[in-house]
C-alpha cells in the first residue's frame, strides 16, 4: 500500500459516506479510513454524543453505522478515489471482525484497520484491545480471512503499550495505528450531570497529542511494522513530531473541525518544506529519528 503523502483521515470523521470521503481526498489526504463498521447496523447513542473541553473533544457516538452489508455500497464508490481506502472494522467477537473485514476487502478495501480501541462501546473496541489473548485471536482470525494489510488501532488506555503492540504484531498485524481516544468524562456543574448520554467517552484533539506521541515513541523500539501516528495533530509541526517519534504516516481527525479538509494539504506541504529545509529526500529518512541517541 503506497500513500501519495503521509497524511490519512482518522476513522470516525466524516467516514460514513463516500461523498464525504471524496471531500477529504480533495482536501489532500494520502489515504482515507472509513468510520468503524460492524456486522449489523447500530444507531449509536443518543445525544449529547460530543462535548468540547478546553483543548479537545470528548465523544461517545457509540459506533453508529449501517452495517457492512449496507456499507459495501460506499466502499465500492470510495475505492474510485485514487488513494488507498482503509475500512475500519469492529466486531463483538473474533469471527465478527473477520467476517466484516472479509466483506470490506471483497468490496474493494485496500486494507482494514481493526478498531480494538473504541473506549465507549461494551464488548468490543478497547475491551478487546486491552486483553492480549482476545486481541491476538482477533488479529489472527482477520489475517487468516483477508489477503490485504491489517492495521491494528491501539488504545492508550492500557498499562503497557509495548506489550499490546507486540501481541498485535506477533499475531500478524501489518501496521499499528496509535492512538484511539483517551477515556474521559465531562460533568456539568449546574446540573451535576455527566454531559454525554453515555457518560464516559473518548478524548481527542490537542490535549492528547503528548500522550499519543509517547505511545508511538514507546512502541517504535519494539516493533518492526510501520506505525501510524494519530491524536491531536493540527499542523505540520505536530505531524513531524509524530514521525520523529517513529510514525511512518499520520492520521488527522478532530482538527478537521477547525481547519476543514484542506488541513491535509497544509500538513503535507509543511512536512515537505521541512524535509527540504533539513536536506532529507523522504519521510522515511526521518521516521524515528528522535531515537538516535
Amino acid at each position: 500500500m503506497r500513500l501519495a503523502n503521509p497524511t490519512m483521515l482518522a476513522s470516525g470523521i466524516l467516514g460514513l459516506s463516500a461523498e464525504s470521503l471524496g471531500n477529504i481526498v480533495k482536501g489532500g489526504a494520502g489515504a482515507i479510513v472509513t468510520k468503524s463498521v460492524g456486522l449489523k447496523p447500530r444507531k449509536g447513542y443518543s445525544n449529547p454524543t460530543i462535548v468540547q473541553t478546553s483543548c479537545g473533544l470528548i465523544n461517545a457516538v457509540g459506533l453508529p453505522n449501517p452495517g457492512i452489508n449496507e456499507f459495501v455500497k460506499e466502499i465500492r464508490e470510495a475505492k474510485n478515489f485514487n488513494v488507498p481506502l482503509i475500512v475500519s472494522v469492529y466486531g463483538f467477537s473474533a469471527e465478527e471482525y473477520a467476517k466484516v473485514a472479509k466483506k470490506a476487502v471483497d468490496a474493494g478495501a485496500d486494507a482494514v484497520e481493526l478498531n480494538v480501541s473504541c473506549p465507549h462501546v461494551r464488548e468490543t473496541g478497547s475491551e478487546i484491545g486491552q486483553n492480549p489473548e482476545v486481541l491476538a485471536e482477533v488479529v489472527r482470525k482477520v489475517k487468516a480471512s483477508v489477503p490485504k494489510p491489517v492495521l491494528v488501532k491501539l488504545s492508550p488506555n492500557v498499562t503497557d503499550m509495548v506489550e499490546i503492540a507486540e501481541v498485535a504484531t506477533e499475531a500478524g498485524a501489518d501496521a499499528l495505528t496509535a492512538i484511539n481516544t483517551v477515556k474521559a468524562i465531562a460533568i456539568d456543574p449546574e446540573t451535576a450531570m455527566p454531559i454525554l448520554s453515555n457518560k464516559i467517552g473518548g478524548l481527542s484533539g490537542t490535549a492528547i497529542k503528548p500522550i499519543a506521541i509517547r505511545c508511538v515513541y514507546e512502541i517504535y523500539e519494539h516493533v518492526k511494522v510501520p506505525i501510524i501516528g494519530c491524536g491531536g495533530i493540527t499542523n505540520w509541526q505536530d505531524a513531524v513530531e509524530f514521525i520523529l517519534a517513529g510514525a511512518t504516516a499520520i492520521q488527522i481527525g478532530t482538527a478537521i473541525a477547525q481547519k476543514g479538509p484542506s488541513v491535509f494539504k497544509a500538513v503535507t506541504r509543511g512536512i515537505n518544506a521541512y524535509l527540504k529545509r533539513k536536506g532529507f529526500k523522504s519521510v522515511n529518512e526521518i521516521v524515528g529519528l528522535s531515537h538516535r541517541n
Binding site: 449529547p48 454524543t49 452495517g67 449546574e190 477547525q258
Partner: protein, 278 residues
C-alpha cells in the same frame, strides 16, 4: 475556504436558565434564554440545545437580540421536544452554537415560503431584511388555522405597504386551502422575484425549488439532517458531499442541484443508512 469558517469557539456547552415560555400553537412553544455567544447569530443559524438527561437537539434561532436574549420555537414531535415543552421558567438547559451558515441578505423583491417551525428562521430573516426589501411576500403554511405560526410577528416586522402575508391551511380553516406551495406557482407567474427563501418540510422545499428552477429564480433553502457534533466531524448530517451542520443548513439552488437525488427524497438515519424522507 476561510479559516474563520472553521472556528469552533462557540462549540463549548454552557448552561443557562429558561427566561420565558410562550405557547404559540397547540404543538409549538417558544422559549427564551440568555446566551452571549448567540447574541450575534444570523438568520438560518442554529444551536444545539441540551435537555439534561434527555437529549441534545438542533434548533433554528428564532431571534437573537444584542443583549444576548435568544429565542427558539419548538414543535413537540417526540421525547426531547416533549421534555422541553414540560420545562418551566428557571429550569436549566445547555446551549452550543450558533452553528452553520446563514441566509444571504438580498435586496429587492423577496418571496418566502415556510411551513411549520420553518417559519421561525423566516421571521428572524424578515427582521433583518425589513429595511432592504422593496417587496416581501411571505407564504406561511400549516395543517390547520391554529398551527399557523408567527403571523402576527411577521406582520409587525416589515412595513405594510411592502409586505404581503399569505396563509395556507390544509383543511382550509384559514387563508388558502392547500399546501404552502399551492400559491407559489401563481406568484412566480405573476411577479419577478430576486430571491426565494424557504424553510419547512423538505418535500415542500423541494417543490418550491423545482418551481424556482422552472421560473429561473434564485433560491435558498434551510435543510434539516440528523445532527450530532454540529461541527463537521461525525458525518451524521451529510447530504451529498455537504455537512448540513457546517456548509449548511442554508443551501443555494446551485448546491441543491448537486444533491438533487437526495434533496426532498432521502436522508440518513441514526445508523447512517439512507432512508426515504417520510
Amino acid at each position: 475556504m476561510k479559516l474563520s469558517a472553521y472556528r469552533i469557539a462557540t462549540n463549548t456547552l454552557r448552561t443557562t436558565r429558561i427566561l420565558s415560555v410562550k405557547t404559540e400553537s397547540p404543538t409549538v412553544r417558544t422559549f427564551t434564554f440568555k446566551d452571549r455567544q448567540c447574541a450575534n447569530a444570523k438568520p438560518g443559524q442554529f444551536l444545539m440545545l441540551w435537555i439534561p438527561g434527555v437529549d441534545e437537539i438542533p434548533l433554528s434561532i428564532l431571534d437573537a437580540k444584542e443583549n444576548g436574549i435568544i429565542s427558539v420555537a419548538i414543535k413537540k414531535v417526540g421525547e426531547a421536544t416533549q421534555a422541553l415543552h414540560n420545562k418551566k421558567v428557571g429550569e436549566i438547559i445547555g446551549i452550543r452554537g450558533p452553528f452553520g451558515n446563514s441566509f444571504t441578505l438580498k435586496e429587492g423583491r423577496i418571496l418566502m415560503v415556510s411551513g411549520g417551525t420553518g417559519t421561525a428562521p423566516m421571521l428572524f430573516l424578515s427582521k433583518k431584511l425589513a429595511s432592504r426589501v422593496t417587496r416581501l411576500i411571505s407564504v406561511i403554511g400549516a395543517k390547520t388555522r391554529d398551527e399557523l405560526l408567527f403571523m402576527n410577528g411577521m406582520k409587525k416586522t416589515v412595513d405594510k405597504e411592502k409586505t404581503q402575508i399569505i396563509a395556507t391551511t390544509e383543511d382550509g380553516s384559514y387563508g388558502i386551502k392547500g399546501l404552502a406551495t399551492t400559491p407559489v406557482e401563481r406568484l412566480l407567474e405573476k411577479e419577478k422575484f430576486d430571491m426565494i427563501y424557504t424553510c419547512g418540510p423538505e418535500q415542500m422545499m423541494r417543490k418550491v425549488f423545482d418551481l424556482a428552477e422552472k421560473y429561473g429564480v434564485a433560491l435558498e433553502a434551510s435543510l434539516e439532517r440528523l445532527m450530532r457534533c454540529a461541527v463537521g466531524l461525525c458525518g451524521s448530517c451529510v447530504i451529498g458531499g455537504y455537512c448540513v451542520c457546517k456548509e449548511g443548513p442554508v443551501f443555494t439552488a446551485e448546491q441543491l442541484r448537486e444533491v438533487k437525488n437526495e434533496f426532498g427524497v432521502s436522508k440518513r438515519d441514526f445508523d447512517g443508512r439512507k432512508i426515504p424522507l417520510e
